[in-house]
Amino acid sequence: MRTAAAAKSEVNPSAKLKRNIILDNLFRKNPILSGGMVIAPIVVYAVTLKNAITLAAAFSVITFFTLIISSFVPKKIVYTIRIILYTLIGSLVYVPAYIILNYYIPEVVSEMGIYFPLLITNSFIVSRSETIFFLESKSKMLLDIIFCILGYDIIVLIFGTIREIISTGELSGNILPVPLIFSGLGLPFGGFIILGILAALLRYIVLITKKM
């Protein structure tokens, strides 16, 4: 009779790799709460759930397409030029992304101000692309990019929801029975503090699950 340990050791390595990529990006090594990536728009702009949804959409579209197109830039080109090409691709992807989002939600896009175009120089495109994504095989890279972006989006949405409830006592216009409202947490300093507490909370949860 096979033991549970033996069965576990026979798990398909490809499935294990996929599981690790998913768990790392969504949870253990989350790009925001562990990696500290693309913090600026979250801290300043993601003050409500609505803003968080817009940020997640804009970030996902720009980052995904820029990274996929950039992965075809030949490695023969020197790093100095490659990095310019990545941001150049990002700025080209920004044009249709801006037009589409501006067509559907113009007032929200204009509220985003400088944080929308700044997404083209985000850490995923400028640094993580060279250090992690483009060193992997195409299939692994695609999976890694998708779950990295998802990991970012999930935290942005959780963060926007918590922040809106704490700082306004409302969620998407619905008044909630919140006993205390800290309106200051809707300001940039509040964003840093909430993000710091969430990062500590995630680390605590990861520690607890490791011990189990």
Partner: protein
């Protein structure tokens, strides 16, 4: 004289009122990596001031040209990337040609200071809030000096934020964010209002 006065006022605005990190959270990820080593601050700071100032000057003239076009804001990131890329390459070439020994030491700083949100954000903020060449230069210098101030303020307590005495869950990155948040609160008190973005 008026030109110098405008530069100084715009610089102080960039450092204290519109501090890139504490008021706008720009370049926070870069700040966390640069503040690890205090030796990096000088090299990084010099490069950041140089690149922001030079690109701000070029952008002043380019902004005058593109402002006439109705949809210029859509293509602005593309234009700014081209300018930043141009300054980045020219800087590396000049270092390689005239300061060959310095080139290998400064290469990583040039890269770090050219492609980060603080420098890129400075160009958009210049476009939004500045009108004269002196303001562009002063604001550019101020934003990069403000960024260096933020890096320095984090680096001086870096060891304490990573101390064994801090509970594991808060040690390092989470505490850096809370610390920046507290400093940001102080800067908010100094300015007295939230900045437009």
């Amino acid at each position: 004289m008026e030109f110098i006065k405008q530069i100084i006022i715009a610089s102080f605005t960039g450092i204290l009122i519109e501090n890139t990190v504490f008021s706008r959270a720009l370049g926070t990820s870069t700040l966390i990596s640069v503040s690890k080593n205090r030796k990096n601050i000088l090299g990084f700071g010099l490069c950041a001031v140089y690149i922001t100032t030079v690109t701000s000057i070029i952008c002043f003239f380019i902004d005058r040209l593109i402002n006439y076009y109705k949809l210029s804001y859509i293509y602005m990131p593309l234009i700014y990337v081209l300018i930043l890329g141009f300054v980045y390459i020219v800087t590396l070439l000049l270092l390689w040609k005239f300061f060959y020994n310095l080139f290998f030491r400064m290469k990583k700083y040039v890269h770090m200071s050219a492609f980060n949100c603080a420098v890129f954000g400075a160009l958009f903020l210049n476009h939004k809030y500045c009108s004269s060449l002196a303001e562009y230069i002063g604001h550019g210098i101020g934003i990069s000096l403000g960024f260096i101030l933020a890096v320095y303020m984090v680096s001086i307590v870096y060891d304490k934020l990573y101390s064994e005495n801090v509970p594991y869950s808060f040690r390092g990155y989470p505490l850096i964010l809370i610390y920046i948040g507290i400093l940001s609160m102080a800067f908010y008190g100094l300015v007295g209002r939230q900045l437009l973005y």
